[in-house]
């Protein structure tokens, strides 16, 4: 039986859909400006960012980012729960690097308590934070590849990221929302043999990373899309409070891991890569190099992995006692109950702590009136500040370059909107 494969008469349909004006089609082109709304659901806006453009042809003359589509009121929520109860919410800030968020939040609260965790706990936190940095940059790189038309990079990156996620799962029990830290310690110690697996991952990862970066670094199409596009001057980067690879891409060598070492970062050797021009390509190069430096740090941590306690044993009012003690000792049971219901007991005061996260500087400003619940907790999110430069950065570029710029800023809306 013959099937009719002919296409429907599209010409006839268009004619009915677009009736010509009564006085015939206009002879003159409309030279006025056009407004274009990009997002909130758009593949290149990496989440729910919306940008209203005013366009002159294909050139952006005005850009107005609209954010808040993912606003969940995390700061309000924090004021209504104990310090430990908020840990899962930090996973959902920059959900591509939850382990780094967990660590930043835990250290902020520990600074409030004046508590220093043991060396093993610090080492585990550094290890997980650097692994989170690698996984976050892999995601950023892969998505950037897609943005500018390179699919292969994405597949390679995701394969490596998957290996990291399996390690995360073995460590924390969750792939994505890890909630690994507790105030004064961790959820659990590292499993036996886990650090060897991390070391093995590093061994096989570096050659693959070279291969991934080799796909882009001298790729003519990629260079055309990124070199001299979205140039951020040093002065602008500072004025807008940019941080992380976006700041360092502009040549400002600011890295809190080096400048204000926390959690024992001071003992590890690593370099801080900076760009020279501040264009999209420089930001890409910075992220690529940062991954190599992270692997360097991970190797040092694994090599000199400290023994001893993995939580602050003396912080009895803050870190819940181990389960075996809770089940065998009345006193520990009561203590555990108090910490769970009333929260870890904190002194009154104000503390501001910032950590160098994959996306930039994540800060927590905690105002405490004492007790187990913060009076006010402000989250200084790097993506929020990094995006605030968009109205200036987009203007004068073509719409297709905006896609390239957005990818190079590597933001996460969960963190921007909180």
């Amino acid at each position: 039986m013959a099937t009719d494969y002919s296409f429907p008469d599209t010409a006839a349909k268009t004619a009915t859909a677009r009736p010509e004006p009564a006085d015939g089609p206009s002879k003159e082109f409309d030279s006025g400006k056009m407004s274009l709304s990009m997002g909130p659901s758009h593949p290149s806006t990496h989440g729910v960012l919306r940008i209203q453009f005013e366009l002159d042809g294909e050139i952006v003359t005005k850009a107005n980012p609209v954010i808040g589509y993912l606003h969940r009121g995390d700061e309000k929520i924090a004021e209504n729960m104990t310090y430990n109860q908020f840990v899962p919410y930090t996973d959902r800030l920059d959900y591509l690097a939850p382990l780094a968020n967990n660590m930043a939040y835990a250290i902020a609260v520990e600074r409030l308590a004046g508590l220093e965790v043991p060396a093993r706990c610090q080492a585990i936190r550094v290890l997980t934070a650097e692994m989170a940095r690698v996984s976050s940059h892999l995601m950023g790189l892969g998505a950037y590849g897609i943005d500018v038309g390179a699919w292969t990079v994405f597949m390679y990156c995701f394969e490596e990221r998957e290996k990291l996620y399996q390690l995360f799962e073995e460590l924390t029990g969750a792939r994505f929302t890890t909630s690994y830290t507790r105030i004064g310690g961790l959820q659990r110690d590292v499993p036996v043999g886990w650090t060897d697996k991390v070391d093995k991952f590093c061994d096989q990862f570096l050659p693959i990373l070279e291969e991934i970066l080799g796909l882009l670094s001298r790729n003519k199409i990629f260079l055309d899309r990124t070199v001299d596009i979205g140039v951020i001057s040093q002065a602008d980067a500072i004025a807008y409070g940019l941080t992380g690879p976006n700041l360092r891409g502009s040549g400002v060598a600011n890295d809190l891991r080096k400048d204000r070492p926390y959690s024992g970062y001071g003992q590890y050797e690593f370099d801080v890569p900076v760009g020279s021009k501040g264009d999209c390509y420089d930001r890409y190069l910075c992220r690529g190099e940062e991954m190599k430096q992270s692997i360097r740090i991970i190797r040092q941590v694994v090599k000199n992995f400290p023994g001893g306690d993995w939580y602050a044993r003396d912080a009895r009012k803050i870190f819940a006692p181990p389960k075996d003690k809770v089940l065998t000792s009345m006193e520990e049971l009561i203590n555990n109950f108090m910490i769970v219901t009333e929260g870890p007991q904190m002194p009154a005061g104000e503390v501001y702590f910032e950590a160098e996260n994959p996306k930039g500087v994540l800060g927590f400003f905690i105002v405490s009136k004492g007790g187990g619940v913060p009076y006010r907790l402000k989250i200084r999110s790097p993506s929020f500040c990094n995006l605030s430069i968009l109205p200036k950065l987009c203007v004068g570029n073509m719409v297709s370059d905006v896609v390239s710029i957005l990818g190079s800023l590597d933001f996460v809306m969960g963190e921007c909107d909180r």
Partner: protein
Amino acid sequence: MTTDVALPTAVSQQFPSATPRTSLDCPAFNIPAGDARALLKHLRDTLGYDFLMDLTAIDWSAGQSPRFTVVWHLYSSTKHTYVRIAAHCATDAEPAMPTATGLWAGADWHEREVYDMFGIKFTGHPDLRRILMWDAYPYFPLRKEFPLAGLPTEMSDADINAETGVGVIAAPMAGGPFVATPGEPMSEAEPRAKDETWNEQREKPE
């Protein structure tokens, strides 16, 4: 951890109105709202605090006076130290603060967020609109009297409102964060959701 030891004298010499503020980490100062901008400018231009890292506010809850405090955190990329500046808003009913947008372009979004969440108006801000909530939203959610569950409002778009007939409803808080209050009678202190839509004292709304 390093702190800027010379900072307190450098600030108090230039600004006698600045008083030390209790802080657990970096140097902190209270400054009258009128002098805030000048102090921020001095810190940026003379004392090397080139980064405005964070700008936020604290609501000391209704009935307190001064009720609102705006807090700036500056960072020096040369000295690698922080400083915290705090200024009380003069009036509690119509809180206002001079803008810092002329000093740091990044202050724009921070101030819009503080306005959005606390209702503090930054005088001189070029475009003070809501940023996280939608433009017609009637409340300031981070004020202390605003309940965690939220308050029912209309949807942002009148068309959607008319079509669906459904507005924004308060979040059901059953099961949601349980916290004990220390230092009260046992019956009061037992773990309960801090901000339930209803409890023994407040009736379930219809």
